[in-house]
């Protein structure tokens, strides 16, 4: 009986925490993103565990504040937000729902993350086609699609027209978790959540 009640309390607190959205990707909740790792209630205190997407992610403090505020508004006065570093966040933790919402918002969702391995991390040497270099370069800079870090997986599809014929413009974009790509079919630029 007590454990059933405890279970309900935790489920209610979790439901409240799961409504909090990401400050940079407001179409996604922290739960969709896999950043919300755990919600528990201990002696009346709600303990929420979150993990950073990237070590330097400046949105962590905002997420923390948003979680505390939302839970306060839901009637939980005593809230603690904890950081969890291990295991490190992976794009594989973005839910199917989250990937669908990303694509709807014009951001290409990540493919399968490269699996962690033992031993030296392999180097990716193929150059990404660059808008500055593309027209002046020799045969070294092939026109083929380079799927960096995708471990031979399927190509990144354009979220606008669905074409698989896209190229990486920059491996870094407005936030650490995204790369910048361009569609060769419809020529629209778009962001891509890169696999880690």
């Amino acid at each position: 009986m007590t454990s059933t009640r405890h279970h309900d309390v935790v489920a209610d607190a979790r439901a409240a925490a799961e409504t909090v959205t990401d400050p940079e990707l407001p179409m996604l909740t922290l739960a969709d993103l896999g950043v919300l790792r755990d919600v528990d209630v201990v002696d009346g205190r709600v303990i929420v565990s979150i993990t950073p997407t990237y070590t330097g992610c400046p949105a962590m403090d905002t997420m923390r504040d948003d979680l505390v505020r939302t839970l306060h508004e839901a009637g939980y006065d005593d809230v603690e937000v904890r950081t969890v570093l291990h295991p490190p966040w992976s794009t594989d933790w973005i839910s199917e729902e989250g990937k669908r919402k990303l694509a709807e918002a014009g951001i290409a969702p990540p493919g399968a993350a490269p699996s962690p391995q033992q031993g030296p991390v392999p180097l990716t040497l193929e150059p990404a086609p660059s808008p500055m270099i593309m027209n002046t370069s020799g045969p070294m800079w092939s026109e083929s699609v380079h799927d960096h870090g995708r471990g031979g997986g399927s190509a990144v599809r354009c979220p606008q027209c669905g074409s698989p014929d896209t190229e990486e413009v920059s491996r870094f974009s407005a936030t650490a978790c995204k790369a910048l790509r361009r569609c060769r079919s419809c020529t629209e630029p778009f962001e891509h959540v890169k696999e880690i």
């Binding site: 565990s49 950073p52 990237y54 070590t55 330097g56 992610c57 400046p58 949105a59 962590m60 403090d61 905002t62 923390r64 504040d65 603690e80 937000v81 904890r82 950081t83 969890v84 570093l85 291990h86 295991p87 490190p88 966040w89 962690p116 030296p120 991390v121 180097l123 990716t124 040497l125 193929e126 150059p127 990404a128 660059s130 808008p131 500055m132 270099i133 070294m140 960096h148 870090g149 413009v169 920059s170 491996r171 870094f172 974009s173 407005a174 650490a176 910048l180 890169k194 880690i196």
Partner: protein, 312 residues
Amino acid sequence: MGFDNAYEALTEGQDDARWAFGTGFEDPLSGVDTTLPDGVDGADLAAYCVMLGDDALIMSHRLQQWCTWLPELEEEVAVANIALDLLGQARLLLTRAGAADGGGHGEDYYAFFRPEHEFRNVRLVELENGDFAELVTRLLVFSTWRLALLDRLRVSRDPVLAAIAAKGVKEITYHRDYAAQWTVRLGDGTDESHRRMRAALEAVWPYVDELFTAHPVEQRLAVQAAEGNGDGARGGDHDTAPAVAIDPGTLRSEFDDVLAQVLKAASLERPEVAPIPGVAGKLGRDGVHTEAMGYLLAEMQSVARAHPEGRW
């Protein structure tokens, strides 16, 4: 409210004082168990985390100084992102240091209120910025070395350090690829870009040997593993017991292999230049730095020292 300048808001007494998005930082290890593992010397662990944290902090600062100077918008964004990743690593490592030595110092103390001789970064990261080829070369050397190091630290006996390393590996893999691709593009590009890459390699290479020179703290924490679990409970597997630290000398062959692969693709050769010696054998890890370091710190610490009660 009604401040004369933006920085005055930093000293505002409110608990949630904020003057811009991304400020009002809390302890980045909030909620992480920072208890010392059995048999690990807290002072040594703290010193080691300061070394790795200072490498990331000072490299990040040099990269931040590139903002608005890079050749195109994509590189602005890339270098700023790399600097941000390293700043994040520095925050965690310096906070780990403060928790490990029991001194109660937070990350701001380490970044803003230490004098030059207490910084333990390798000298490579503090050098004055040069041209874009120099940025690419330094980033290639730094990220190849640091990736090899963090890759091995994923099994550090200190679980906090192991977790920070595991996260860092994912980030630095991208940094190294970025630098390697630009090395190939510039080295195998025009006569001018090739010339600049050669000059950059010759400028950076004298600081490479230092990366693989173990400080006594690194030596102690690297061997602690072999002897560390000598309580008998683990029987014969103490050979595989993880160390807290890595002797950087053991990273050299991987570093040389990666650099050889990149330089070959870039039509560049490893330069034949002598290492820059330390002062009476003392290097960056001993707190002995180059002339550039004092100027760097004067800039990096100026706001915090002018507003010592400020919150960020």
